[in-house]
């Protein structure tokens, strides 16, 4: 028996396989047949508006045939069409039958809010009869095309104002991500869905959103893994993980959409103010130094916050790994000041001239200079004003003419 089974089994297998193949071909053939059958009427000569809903009955075969849905045929979506001739269709075509995951994600998203559900599937994926896979360069959701697709709403200031959604297309297109995408056609360049997701786009106010404050480092880190690791080593990242929502995340310094090349002077100079937005005292004392004066003038060829504190793994000076830890100062300062000695690095880049205890030399030097200025200008101010009045009276002959000065010339 065992032997006979062994003989029968392959035969059975072949049999099942052949039946399946036949059915499969038959299915495709049926779909093709259906499609051809449908297109026989729904061709270019079909009414552009039907008499019930006013929609076009024309299906462009040239669009449909290369589309991803060509293989499954018309009735897969138009489920209430069961033969020919058919009744008027009553069921609205729904994508959710085949794409339940995407549909569920979409229903949770900001785009599904409100009665009109704008945008729906087709607003992003295009003509229902011409939907292409997202890998297809012609697809509206192909990475290089997606910003323009999203931008059809999020690049329209009037629409954005009327419906209260962000108008960010222009900002993105000016960003380093936008340049990488448009100029180099870089498929890995971050575009809308890289950060916001595709179907499950949530408001950043929703804590589970990929763009919620607490999740930004992870979202950006999905590409910038090294920076993410280094950020979470630093004080900002650690405190963020500990639940301090005031900590800066990537977007605080780099902005959300208009992410600039970090080598640009404008960004390097404005970001000093970004750090100073929280570290106010540090910014004030920095502005008193040559470093701070140069950046205030709009030039970046000098020490900025992160030149010394590093950009992402910022650590307190008490941490021996910190770039501003006493043991590392000679290396850090030495990046610009070749030959920096121990004496040299005892310079205070944030010295407060009002702090007598911490900076006695600076305090007394400032006091002396202020007194000197006040003294000189008080004395000579009075001297000058008195002299001026006396000379004017002398000229006009008013008052007793004592002493001599030169006459008017």
């Amino acid at each position: 028996m065992r032997r006979s089974y062994r003989i029968i089994r392959p035969q059975l297998m072949w049999g099942v396989l052949s039946v399946a193949l036949v059915l499969c071909f038959a299915g495709i053939a049926r779909a093709k047949m259906d499609t051809q059958l449908c297109l026989a009427c729904h061709n270019a000569s079909a009414p552009k508006t039907d008499h019930v809903k006013g929609v076009s009955l024309y299906v462009n075969a040239k669009l449909f045939k290369p589309s991803i849905h060509a293989a499954i045929g018309c009735p897969s979506c138009h489920t209430d069409i069961d033969g020919f001739p058919h009744k008027l269709p009553t069921r609205k075509v729904s994508c959710s039958g085949c794409h339940p995951t995407q549909d569920a994600a979409y229903r949770r998203s900001v785009h599904a809010e409100g009665a009109k559900k704008i945008p729906g599937c087709l607003d992003c994926h295009g003509n229902p009869h011409g939907i292409l896979p997202k890998r297809d360069p012609e697809s509206k959701v192909y990475p290089l095309n997606l910003p323009r697709t999203c931008g059809s709403c999020h690049g329209n200031p009037e629409l954005a104002k009327r419906y209260g959604f962000p108008d960010v297309y222009a900002l993105y297109m000016d960003s380093i991500h936008g340049f990488a995408l448009t100029q180099d056609g870089l498929l890995v360049a971050a575009q809308c869905s890289s950060c916001h997701g595709a179907h499950e786009i949530l408001s950043r106010k929703d804590p589970s959103s990929r763009t919620a404050r607490g999740n930004v480092p992870t979202t950006c880190g999905s590409c910038h893994a090294g920076v993410k690791a280094s950020y979470f080593e630093g004080v900002h990242g650690k405190n963020l993980l500990a639940g301090n929502q005031k900590m800066p995340v990537c977007t605080n310094c780099h902005t959300a959409h208009r992410i600039s090349d970090v080598q640009t002077v404008a960004w390097q100079v404005t970001t000093v103010g970004t750090c100073g937005g929280c570290h106010k005292e540090r910014l004030r004392t920095y502005r008193d130094t040559f470093h701070g004066q140069v950046t205030a003038l709009g030039f970046s060829e000098t020490a900025r916050c992160w030149s010394c504190h590093s950009a992402h793994n910022i650590l307190p000076a008490s941490d021996p790994r910190s770039t501003v830890a006493p043991a590392n100062l000679q290396t850090t300062c030495g990046k610009c000041h070749a030959g920096a000695t121990l004496n040299f690095v005892s310079y205070q880049p944030h010295a407060d001239p009002h702090n007598k205890l911490l900076n006695p030399a600076l305090y007394y030097a400032t006091l002396f200079m202020n007194l000197l200025l006040a003294g000189v200008f008080t004395f000579f101010g009075i001297h000058t004003v008195l002299w001026l009045f006396r000379s004017l009276f002398h000229r006009t002959g008013a008052g007793p003419r004592s002493g001599t000065e030169l006459p008017w010339r």
Partner: protein, 277 residues
Amino acid sequence: MTSNDVDQRYYFRFSLGKRYLHGLLMVTFLGLAATGLPLRFSETAWAAAFARTIGGFRAVLFFHKTCAVLLTAGFLAHVGELFYRVFAKGEFSTLYGPNSMTPRPKDLTDLIQHVRWFFWLGPRPKFDRFAYWEKFDYWAVFWGMLIIGISGYVMWFAPFFGRYLPGSLLNVVLVCHGEEALLAVWFIFMIHFFNSHLRPAHFPMDPVIFTGRLTGEELKTDHPVEYERLSQDDGLAAIQADHPPRWLTNFARLVAVGAIGTGFVLLTLTLAAFLNE
């Protein structure tokens, strides 16, 4: 020689070397002020615009350092000349006396007498070759060049000086450099301009530092003690000068208008920025 003759004649007050020294000082001082003040008031819009116009921060520093080196050369030449006159030629009058810049008791009594004159309490004092405010101008600039110069070179070669000086001194030098510069700039643009050029007796300018010459009338009125001394030992003939050539007078006017104009622009901008701090 009648008194009227003397009034109309010209006499030398400043040698060509002194006039060149003043010219160098004036040009480099204006250059230093124009390229240094934008850093001191870096948060104002005019400072940023000016720095951009010059060609950026490196260009600003380049001009600042160039002027600094030129001025240092002038300063060293002047001090060198003083040493030469005292030690090589034995001219001790350089150190003390009416022709010296060293303050004398007369300067104090002149000051008191001058202030009394301001209030019609006495006659105008009889000044010697250098009045007390002229000596103050000189020493203010001298002290200022030392403070600003030394602090400037310490910052320029900070890592080098960092071998010998504590880091806290590197903090101090910027404050000294900036505040002393403000003192110098405001003093020159307010006090020196008034004392030497804008006061009614000389308005709008005294060309003596550019032409080197003053009239006998000016010598008698502004430096009566010197005039009397010179008349007694026949020194007047030794310093008698020709009429300043027209081109020189015109050149002096042009330079003075430029310097005073630049000064007033910088004075207004810095005063406004300072009061806003």
